[in-house]
């Protein structure tokens, strides 16, 4: 790991960043597979239409705000504004958790309408898409938490290039799941 960080200085793109980008490709493949299957199955008929509960729109606002705060936190870190960094990162983490809670609320809302995972292909796919996305979000939250805990350690080692790289990677990943959610929302919206 050390060795990688050292090579970083002479490369324009850090190998870890590159690795993150290509792993996103494979996540994109996963979700394209889901959504293509969705389109095919919908075309086959026997499809129950239901509206999107309003929570999913609230959550969209929340995850966008979350991305924004994480970005500001990162910028503060770069400018060595550590107080703001701690503050923004905490808000970001809170919003991330709120996002998951809202997604879950939206699902409960559907349950109230008697729509469950096995009700129809449409609801199965819905759970599949939102659930798989939520799993990716939870992975992101684990990374946010790690940085959050480190952010409040008084250990100065944390304020290093290595710390900055970790934040950058975390933010990149988070923006990715954010955009992924926008894509899924738009997809579900147009499929209605």
């Amino acid at each position: 790991m050390e060795m990688v960080a050292r090579q970083n200085k002479i490369r324009r793109i850090h190998p870890k960043k590159f690795a993150l980008w290509i792993s996103m490709l494979s996540m994109i493949m996963l979700f394209s597979a889901f959504t293509s299957a969705y389109i095919v199955q919908k075309a086959a008929g026997d499809w129950l239409q239901f509206p999107l509960p309003v929570e999913f729109f609230y959550s969209t606002g929340v995850i966008l705000a979350c991305s924004l705060f994480l970005h500001m936190a990162y910028k503060s870190f770069v400018n060595k504004n550590y107080l703001y960094y701690q503050l923004f990162w905490s808000v970001g983490l809170f919003l991330a958790l709120l996002f998951v809670a809202l997604q879950y609320q939206g699902w409960l809302h559907l349950n109230e309408w008697e729509i469950f995972v096995h009700t129809n292909q449409s609801s199965s796919f819905f759970v599949m898409l939102v659930g798989a996305h939520a799993l990716h979000v939870l992975g992101g939250i684990a990374a946010l938490m790690t940085s959050w805990i480190l952010a409040f350690r008084k250990n100065t080692k944390e304020w290093s290039d290595k710390g900055q790289l970790r934040l950058e990677l975390t933010c990149t990943y988070w923006h990715f799941v954010d955009v992924l959610w926008l894509y899924l929302l738009a997809f579900l919206w147009f499929q209605q």
Binding site: S26, A33, A37, S124
Partner: protein, 613 residues
């Protein structure tokens, strides 16, 4: 992916700077556990992949011997297998004759396929050689992330452990075929093997997907970002090109398999019907499970499945190209054509998956598109075959185990590729689908050919792995036994298939039309047992040579040009002492300027043009 410009640009980006660091002091690799178990050294991880793969190869092939006995000797008494298989041998209380439980026959076929395709020919082949050669041939101290690399192995190990446990379940391991088609795999009540066995099979393969992705991300990152100074893309040995494209294929196709598995798990656990519609189990209709499509699963599976067969064969192609060139003492013929063929195969392999599904009732016009792409993929394949032959043509070839297996690979690839062209035409495939013709096709072109590539690689790079040579005499015996044996096994299967004998049948006793093939089936079984014995010879040679083989005395025993032979025989973690060597030329300078070979590290002479261009 095929965008060479981007790759070239990347190459220039990374052309500057050395990697000097002191990694080979290795202070955190002192304990036994760190060094041999949770090692992060790519060379050790390569050995772990290799040994684990070999272990699985023995288990998986032994399984095939058991079901071949059933096919070759359907009436034989196999109660002597009871100590090994226990309850899976049913003993008739009256006659005392022991027979293989039909359910277990299917489980064996399924496990054989899964183990060989994924654990042996994917992990054991690409895992081993990508790990060994990517850092060494690119000129890097290790992978971009040694940690992820180690995790990749341990996820593979976990996948294996889970599948292994499933062998001991009361209801038996999964038995629905290596492709795991629903509804058989989607409904636990469909058969014994679809109960816990299927759950563990899916779990195991999900771990496997994680392993492939972690490995692949690392391989790609290392090849693109961590090459030594001077090593631009068109100075890479063909091995590295093959591993790179393999990793890209895996990265793009395995997630799609994962999506299919997630949906399958939903169907199994949450009562959804992604893949289920109008199913009857034991005469009863499952009225709540409607609306899905089993064909959808096939699309998802084969979208991985076809690239997967190239994930298996491309590394073998890379190894063979390298071995043939080194041992013929000639540059590889048409280096750039080879690179572009690899890339073309990579792209096309995503466009042909439905040739596995001609019989699903697909629209014949759509089938035609897939026929077209399937036949087009034969073009880059043929280019490669031509180039291999042109490479050895008129060469001063050293006949040894590695080069023999490489030539054997070319032979197998031609034979199996030819039958692929038959199958690729829907009109012919309607007759051949699900017969032994298909079994013969893919065993020759993928199974045997990939094994040959792997053997060539092991014989050739054994000194790099263990600092010793494998025994040549045993190696040659192994080669002749294997090539004759493999043709004896799979040759007759073409004939069976053309006569319409279906694959995956426990017994043909009920079909008069197939009874005339009993002796042919017996012959195949004998050939399989003999060929298996030759593989045991290989395993013995492998472990014997590891400790007692002829010692490697010079750094570059094959007089090869590439970088892996510039590192000391017993190099530690970090590969090179001091600076990483720089590269000045392509890796195939054999017989140039009247010299036997010129290593990649030797600067170009004044006015000399690099060979690759």
């Amino acid at each position: 992916m095929a965008d060479i410009n981007v790759l070239e640009k990347e190459a220039h980006l990374s052309d500057h700077g050395d990697h000097h660091d002191d990694h080979h002091g290795d202070k955190y690799q002192s304990s036994f556990v760190d060094r041999y178990v949770f090692s992060q050294d790519h060379k050790t991880i390569a050995k772990q992949f290799l040994i684990t793969g070999m272990m699985w190869a023995v288990i998986g092939s032994a399984m095939s011997i058991i079901f071949r006995i059933q096919l070759g000797y359907p009436d034989a008494d196999i109660s002597w297998l009871q100590p090994l298989l226990g309850g899976w041998i049913q003993i008739d209380p009256l006659t005392g004759v022991g027979k293989l439980d039909p359910q277990f026959y299917y489980a064996l076929v399924t496990m054989h396929g899964t183990i060989l395709v994924f654990f042996v020919l994917t992990a054991g082949l690409s895992g081993t050689f990508s790990n060994l050669l990517i850092p060494l041939q690119c000129g890097a101290r290790d992978m971009a992330s040694p940690m992820l690399n180690m995790l990749s192995y341990w996820f593979f190990f976990l996948a294996g452990a889970v599948l292994f446990i499933s062998l001991f379940l009361n209801t038996g391991p999964f038995s629905g075929g290596w492709t795991g088609y629903p509804p058989l795999s989607g409904l636990p009540q469909a058969s014994d093997g679809s109960k816990a066995g299927a759950t563990l099979w899916i779990l195991s393969l999900v771990f496997f997907v994680v392993s492939v992705l972690l490995g692949g991300i690392n391989y790609i990152t290392t090849v693109i970002n961590m090459r030594t100074k001077g090593m631009h893309m068109f100075r890479l040995p063909l091995t590295i090109w093959a591993f790179l494209v393999t990793a890209i294929l895996g990265l793009l196709s395995f997630p799609v398999l994962a999506s299919g598995f997630f949906m399958l798990t939903f169907d199994r656990v949450l009562g959804t019907s992604f893949f289920l519609n109008e199913i009857f189990v034991a005469g009863e209709a499952l009225t709540t499970r409607v609306g899905g499509s089993a064909i959808l699963y096939q699309h998802l599976f084969w979208f991985l499945g076809h690239p997967e067969v190239y994930i298996i064969i491309l590394p073998a192609m890379g190894l063979v190209s390298e071995v043939l060139s080194v041992h013929s003492r000639k540059p590889i013929f048409g280096y750039k054509a080879m690179v572009f063929s690899i890339l073309a195969i990579g792209v096309l392999s995503f466009l042909v998956w439905a040739h596995h599904m001609y019989m699903t009732g697909m629209n014949p016009f759509i089938a035609n598109i897939f026929i077209l792409f399937t036949l087009i993929i034969a073009v880059p394949s043929a280019v490669k075959v031509f180039n291999w032959i042109a490479t050895i043509w008129g060469g001063n070839i050293r006949i040894n185990s590695a080069s023999l297996f490489s030539i054997g690979f070319v032979s197998m690839f031609i034979s199996g590729g030819l039958t692929g062209i038959f199958l690729g035409n829907a009109a012919i495939d309607i007759q051949q689908h699900d017969t032994y013709f298909v079994v013969a096709h893919f065993h020759i072109v993928m199974g045997v050919a990939a094994f040959f590539g792997m053997f060539a690689g092991i014989y050739h790079w054994f000194p790099r792995l263990y600092g010793r040579f494998m025994n040549e005499t045993l190696g040659k015996i192994h080669f002749w036994g294997t090539i004759v044996g493999a043709y004896a096994i799979f040759g007759p299967m073409h004939y069976l298939g053309m006569a319409g004998v279906p694959r995956r049948y426990y017994s043909f006793a009920g079909f008069d039309s197939f009874s005339e093939f009993a002796s042919m089936n017996e012959f195949i079984t004998i050939a399989a047992i003999v060929t298996f014995a030759f593989q045991i010879l290989f395993v013995v040679n492998f472990f014997y040579s590891m400790y007692k083989g002829k010692k490697q005395t010079e750094m570059n025993p094959w007089k090869a040009t590439s970088l892996e032979w510039t590192a000391p025989v017993d190099c530690g973690h970090g590969n090179w002492e001091g600076e990483i060597p720089q590269v000045h030329r392509w890796p195939y300078d054999f017989g140039r300027h009247g010299r036997d070979f010129i290593p990649q590290t030797e600067p170009l002479a004044e006015g000399e043009v690099d060979g690759g261009h």
